[in-house]
């Protein structure tokens, strides 16, 4: 990812999203619709979980919903940029509002 694009993403995230509070209930729906097929528990059938278990080797959970260190910024970064075989998600798939809600759902309750 290019540095200008990263800065743009962070700027958008901070100016438009952080100022708002995400709807965790909708975030859960977004998670179940778009994320759980790769990130649900069970590494054998869920490649996102499998990859994260490989990376963290027990230091952190491979299941996104069990993570205690996710932030809306980090969630937005991966959703809009993808990582390795996970492609980015377009705004017709996960809108900015849905992304805000997803970030709220996956972040520890503040």
């Amino acid at each position: 990812m290019s540095r200008p694009f990263l800065l743009l993403v962070l700027a958008l995230v901070s100016s438009e999203l952080f100022a708002q509070v995400g709807d965790r209930a909708n975030g859960k729906e977004v998670y179940e619709h778009w994320c759980s097929s790769c990130h649900a528990p069970g590494a054998r059938k869920h490649p996102g979980t499998s990859a994260l278990e490989f990376i963290y080797k027990g230091e952190k959970s491979g299941v996104l919903e069990e993570r205690l260190d996710l932030t809306p910024e980090l969630v937005a970064l991966f959703v809009r940029n993808g990582v390795k075989i996970m492609p980015p998600f377009r705004k017709t798939e996960i809108s900015d509002k849905d992304l805000l809600d997803l970030g709220a759902y996956l972040s520890p309750q503040r």
Binding site: F5, S37, K45, H46, A51, K84, P88, R90
Partner: protein, 554 residues
């Protein structure tokens, strides 16, 4: 904002204002950060000058909005590239063939218009994914199965139009074959319905596919003649049971009988799902230079020694897996019947595998060997190329070279050797090499997979090997069934009978149906007249002229 090739900035600015008033500014993506989300995440051209990048993206919500957008594009001769869910990863994703095209993102058109349990069909829009239809059927408790490809997030319509395939039974597993009836918006914004859909108040649009007069549907698959906005699909009544098992034969030359009988069982309808043929000896032979040399040469003496090598490993030379779907008595007796057909092969072995009864709870379905073979969409296939102990760095995607070969033992041996030789001589980044498999009813398809990286030199080498495979396969009479956008001209060029007569016919149709050449320029090698090679010398020169055009205007 990026601009498309061949369109003046003032015209494009006017068109964008019209797009915004047609579908709302919110759904006209012009910021580069938003448009970059449409880059092909698995592009083998990533970051290179040749990478195919759109100018802007439009996201209509209805067929009427598509009509309105197409009329505007037609007026200003703006190249437009429709995608359904944009998840055709490995085949181009949501990026166009012609850089600077406007992506028409149909993801918001996600209505499941009808699912009919009694006559077992669905009518859907392009944004409906396999997950969406599966969940709908489960929520309503309908006694129906879908047939899904490996990843479940793709579009039924997009996959079918690209000749995608799945794993349950005929005819549902060939997704274009399982469709019935389309609604299509043409380049000028006109809208047509095919088959019985042309009859106002049609009551059999999704049951009788031929309609009246010439059947048009084939024109809209692997092509660029229209934008499909609705499509019907036949569904299977949920079967009562599933059975799988494998037949294993011990000697090199047993492959001929193994495949001959498999084909006969398929053509007789006893086997009504996919089957393939693989060699359990492949790894051992690959690790042994002497045996590998003998396998390549395969004279009488070599075969005798290879057979002895397999015997000393107590490993069958070949095996095939068979699957049966239907009532319990029928799947059990079909498997017994199939086993008996192989009984004359000396030393044949059988292995019973899964035996399942339906309905099964979702959690149990996800514990089976492969839920996709049971009509359950998932993302399991993305384990391939994932970061793991085998591949700590992971990959940035994949693409596949997939020629169609005859369902004969001879073709199994020949394709294995010919393609294997190219891969070995050229080196490269092959990640998997799937043995011959009957993705379609009467042929085997080979699937040579490549990893895609973010390193241009590695990707360049992959493209070089891919193109050599296309060329060598064509010399043997094997052509691709489907390909990535980076290789569409190469694969089209291989279908060259009578000075590319088929492509010339497709170009004639293109010029008639889309005279201003705005839809999906270059898709499956079909270029519009105004940027086609003017001397009509074939696709190689079309490629050159297209690149010049793109460079000078974008």
């Amino acid at each position: 904002m990026r601009y498309p090739p061949g369109v003046s900035q003032s015209d494009f600015d006017r068109a964008v204002r019209q797009f915004e008033s047609s579908i709302g500014a919110e759904w006209v993506f012009t910021d580069e950060a938003d448009v970059d989300l449409y880059r092909d995440a698995y592009s083998p051209l990533w970051g290179e000058e040749e990478e195919k990048i759109p100018s802007i993206a439009l996201a209509p919500q209805s067929a009427e909005e598509v009509q309105s957008l197409m009329a505007i594009c037609n007026e200003f001769q703006i190249p437009v590239y429709p995608v359904s869910t944009g998840k055709n990863l490995g085949y181009g994703g949501s990026a166009p063939v012609l850089t600077g095209s406007v992506v028409l993102d149909l993801k918001r058109m996600n209505r499941i218009i009808e699912v009919n349990e009694e006559n077992a069909f669905a009518l859907v829009e392009p944004g409906v994914s396999y997950f969406d239809l599966y969940n709908y059927i489960q929520e309503k408790g309908l006694d129906l199965w879908i047939d899904c490809p490996d990843p479940g997030w793709g579009s039924l319509i997009g996959n079918s139009l690209d000749h995608g395939v799945g794993y349950t039974v005929n005819p549902y597993r060939d997704h274009f074959e399982a469709h019935c009836g389309m609604e299509v918006v043409l380049a000028d914004g006109d809208i047509v319905r095919t088959g019985m859909g042309a009859l106002p108040n049609a009551e059999t649009w999704q049951q009788y596919r031929w309609g009246y007069g010439p059947w048009m549907d084939g024109l809209f698959a692997q092509s660029n003649f229209g934008v499909v906005t609705k499509m019907g699909f036949w569904l299977s009544p949920a079967p009562e049971a599933f059975r799988s098992g494998s037949v294993q034969v011990m000697r090199y030359n047993d492959v001929h009988e193994l495949v001959r009988i498999t084909a006969k069982m398929m053509y007789s309808g006893i086997l009504n799902s996919n089957a393939g043929v693989q060699s359990p000896m492949q790894f051992a032979i690959g690790q042994n230079p002497e045996m590998h040399e003998r396998y390549e040469r395969a004279n009488e003496e070599d075969i005798r020694i290879l057979d002895e090598f397999a015997r000393s490993n107590n490993t069958p030379f070949w095996s095939s897996q068979f699957k049966f779907y239907g009532p319990r008595e029928i799947v059990d007796s079909s498997w017994e019947y199939v086993k008996r057909q192989f009984a004359d092969i000396d030393g044949v072995r059988y292995q019973d595998q899964e035996s399942l009864n339906f309905p099964m709870p979702y959690e149990e379905l996800m514990q089976t060997a492969d839920e996709n073979h049971l009509g359950v969409p998932s993302m399991s296939v993305f384990q391939l190329g994932n970061r793991s102990n085998f591949n700590p760095a992971g990959t940035n995607g994949h693409l596949g070279f997939s020629p169609v070969v005859p369902m004969t033992g001879e073709a199994v041996l020949e394709s294995n050797k010919v393609l294997g030789r190219v891969l070995r001589e050229m080196g490269g980044n092959t990640v998997f090499n799937v043995p011959p498999y009957s993705y379609h009813q009467r042929t085997f398809t080979i699937l040579v997979g490549f990893t895609v990286t973010r390193d241009a030199d590695t990707n360049r080498k992959t493209r070089e090997i891919f193109r050599e495979l296309v060329k060598v396969a064509a010399e043997h009479g094997w052509g691709e069934y489907r390909t990535h956008t980076a290789f569409m001209d190469d694969c089209a060029a291989a279908y060259s009978f009578n000075d590319n007569a088929l492509l010339r016919l497709q170009q004639t149709l293109k010029d008639a149906i889309d005279p201003r050449g705005i839809i999906s320029a270059g898709r499956y090698g079909i270029w519009p007249k105004h940027i086609r090679d003017t001397e009509g010398k074939g696709v190689a020169t079309i490629n050159v002229s297209k690149e010049k055009e793109g460079d000078s205007n974008v």
